[in-house]
Symmetry: D3
Subunit: 228 residues, 6 copies
């Protein structure tokens, strides 16, 4: 039995760097679509400034409510290009993270933080341009008393994250790409984006989606009635 | 029996253009007051950027959860100056709307979108300066499989909207003015605004609302006790 | 029996001006920590613009739902450097406060408003740079019909506030410092901030919190297992 | 302009008594399905005891937050077989209704109450077996100071209700049948229920919905893959 | 500076026993009204079975999130007739309390528990008929690692409680009567209840609140229009 | 890339029957503790009647919002002793399940349903004594149009469930035991329960947890101050 608590795994099988870089040029919505509409966290992790964006390989943290001890354990495991993904054993909005930890994470090479919990010092974090996607902003301080884990699989805001997965976060939400699928998803997402570019031009010219996507027959068969 | 599903009404009795233009120069709070403190949606539809504003005649959409098919049906019904108002048959935060539909809506002349549901591509929407007032931001994709309706009366975030009504949305919320009342409400709101301008100057000079609104007697009669 | 309703207390024992000024240069998180991690409101009072900040001595208001009469009674009690803290006898998001009251409050010397309720005219409030920390933004108008109180102790978003207490509000939340503790808390917070400055430099240089805070032994004793 | 406030309409066009009686023998889910899946309130109005049920013709009330004055105006309009449906001009959980009003409503012939607000004295209400479907239970008292309306169209928990409509409430929720459609909906719902009875027997015997509803082909066409 | 953490106060000035007994025969709504409509907690503390009721003198506990250590400290301070009132330094639904603590609390003479947090073993608690009014039911276990306090003033679900205050909890909510006001409030509540008994009989006989409370003139003056 | 949609896995590696039976005699809180305080769903899945209990091996379902097609696909995969665990690709409270599906599930041998979504016909479900643990009760009907999956890993109310895992649900919540750990967890939970029995007797006799758990020294070291 592996309860998932009290563990720090040092070895992480990270997604290939090249795939991460390709994914970093794509939006969350596009990547989610390219994965067959899967991989999204619940829409409860807004960025701390509009337009914030982060894409990296996941270092996962499992926190205890009111306790940010594991964030320090996680810091040591960060490699350049990682993004920290923190979940909690119960719902808790305390301020697990602030400007000091951000300074440390950045010094280790982290590109951002996704956290199903609270953060504080957000004015400083904005000035540092350290992208954070938290459930809450809360000045509430935390203790360092109880073990959680680092680099175990975690459920963060409803989505399963394994260490090494690619995590992309922007204004639209947070999506998780399993490490093994990263290259394939990047290719599918790039194709989707190219396809959308063409459609955008036609829609901008006034063409209707009804025609562009050939919907009129299907709507009629489904029983749509036009009345005046 | 008219169940309200599977219908697209083409004819919309729009509020007079001149009244819409007058209303577009007024804020939501002022218009709501001028209507005797009625007509407001619940405060759950924040703009996707601070200061966003939209005022138009309503094209209404009734969506099914997880399904944005009717948005495409609605696009065809848009006339310049319209605002799309989308409700859903149940609470659902999926991303019913993104930059492609915004491109299409704008090409048809829409001035904005109010939606009791989720939207995505918000960074693009902000760059396009297409004002959207959604319940949620969520990358979650939708399908095109089940009929809703277009241009039937809908309840959107708690407020009843008929096609053709004037809908005004800004930082303070969303207000709906019945088409037939548009001119009368515009006049009352303009009067109210003029009245407030005078009061603002007196308050800025240090006069108290207690005196300006002649409240001291009423407070005393209600039993207010001043103590030291 | 003092029910707390129908009273306006004129005399307020304000925290010393010098302590308020020192506290105004510190953040909410720092002050909360310096108070032994107490004094915080629930994280439900975000500022109406990012970066808004206010620090003053509290004028308290107890409102009735849908009724902002007491805000006018409170205006008269404001002295320069005060911050108004408004609670409500039940949860209510109506727009108790807008640009007219802001004009009046500012004319009296108020430095901001914390309100466990709704406000409106937020675009104007932002332009005025009048810092407001509300639970909601809502255009809904209120009446002036039922007595609440001014300058009684109130619970606002979960935190107890006495008239004259120092209230600090910023992006991280709202913290209340009892008037009698203001100088002591200011000193402790200043010391804490100085201490954090040194740590920040070491963390920025790549030192780990594990070493800086001497955590490795404690983690091992608590049973943390490193695995590969 | 009719703002909807300050009005009590005495004449109500009630749905035919015979249709109401037929509808009273059917469940909310069945009636909602028979209306083409429309007419439901949001699922926020649980009964005050499991199994509570009410079906009647609507007397509508529009309340102000924290104010139950209009409930007394409504009482006079109640005819035997009516159900009172109360909405509020803003979200408010105060205790608008208790055992005294229940006593009065029952004496006038009311069969129940649906209220997008709070109620109190619920132990007494349960003992009286007066079915109430409230948004909240809250002891908070209300005042009698501001006009709302009686027997105007209201939006209650997201559903539009006209005076005289049939309102059915049970454990599954609250559904509104327009007065003019009552007989037609009753017939459709009765047919649906008869149809379900036959299906229930076949499912109880172990037959699968896949076969009963002939789904296997459609699932295969949609692309369902069975794997081992 | 007294931060409120790390303290257990042994001496509690309890409300007079006789007043507590009188209050224990009254409902929460009645007592709240008798206090001028004050003293109520937010409506988020439902009983773990319908009809549960508790009235006692408060032993207060301030918990840390995820940590129930202080509940054991509190147990020793319980005297027969006390009710434990537990708040938390941040919002947290963990299961701070279960059947073992209930066994201990009861052995010490406690009459119930009000807790702005989670509890578990609710089936056992129901069988024991130990009345608990929690914010949540959650099996989540807690640790014993960080100090809170016992018998300091706490804010529990929005209401201020001092040790020794009378706390009454029933289906309608939780009300707090300051120890010094207990006798006066009991008298006022008894008077109110007697008065309501007479009104109930008249309303049951069909008399309208409009007449019983003499509202018709006031409504007319406020502008109520009857239409047909 | 395996997107998790459009799949029905027929082979499920179920936890050993004997371990399931032992676990079925234990409560959710006890099992969660025996797993090192892991495995719990969020506290949002209350039973449809107090005291409802279910324990079985998981058949998992991934639904689309507003669409219950996959419930029928799942029915065929049920073996006696299974419990169905349904998640949804986005938050949705529609009534995915009612008395017909319950009849079918029971005929196949299912012992209950855990669903992160809505159910209806709850009165019938209670009369059938079919234990259901839903996020919501809602009469809202669903369609059968879009593929989800059956027997893929799902995240349900925040907890990861694999097909074949043991799922236990009662008043205290829902806990998931990985199939491979079932016997070990059962043993640990039984030991814990035996241990608690002894403690309960000592606490009932008036012994304090402070002494039973030997806390006094640790509290003193942590700095607890007793004052009078």
């Amino acid at each position: 039995m592996n309860t998932g608590l009290g563990i720090c795994r040092r070895h992480v099988e990270r997604a290939p760097r090249e795939a991460v870089e390709r994914l970093s040029r794509l939006g969350v919505a596009t990547v989610h679509e390219a994965m067959g509409r899967t991989g999204l966290a619940h829409p409860v992790l807004p960025p701390i400034w509009p337009g914030a964006h982060a894409c990296g390989t996941a270092i996962t943290v499992l926190l205890q409510p009111g306790d940010n001890w594991m964030m320090h354990v996680a810091a040591e495991q960060i490699r350049p290009g990682d993004i920290v993904v923190a979940a909690c054993t119960s719902e808790n909005a305390d301020g697990f993270f602030g400007d000091l930890l951000a300074t440390s994470f950045r010094a280790r090479g982290a590109v951002g933080l996704v956290i199903d919990g609270g953060v504080r010092d957000v004015k400083d974090l904005r000035e540092m341009r350290f992208p954070v996607f938290p459930r809450a902003v809360h000045a509430k301080g935390t203790v360092k008393a109880t073990l959680g884990s680092v680099n175990v699989p975690v459920v963060c805001a409803g989505v399963l994250v394994h260490p090494g997965d690619v995590v992309i976060a922007d204004d639209d939400g947070v999506v998780v790409v399993p490490a093994a699928d990263a290259a394939e998803v990047a290719a599918a997402a790039e194709a989707r984006e190219a396809n959308e570019r063409a459609k955008r031009a036609r829609l901008a010219a006034g063409e209707l989606g009804l025609d562009l996507y050939d919907m009129r027959d299907k709507l009629a068969k489904a029983g749509l009635r036009y009345i005046d």
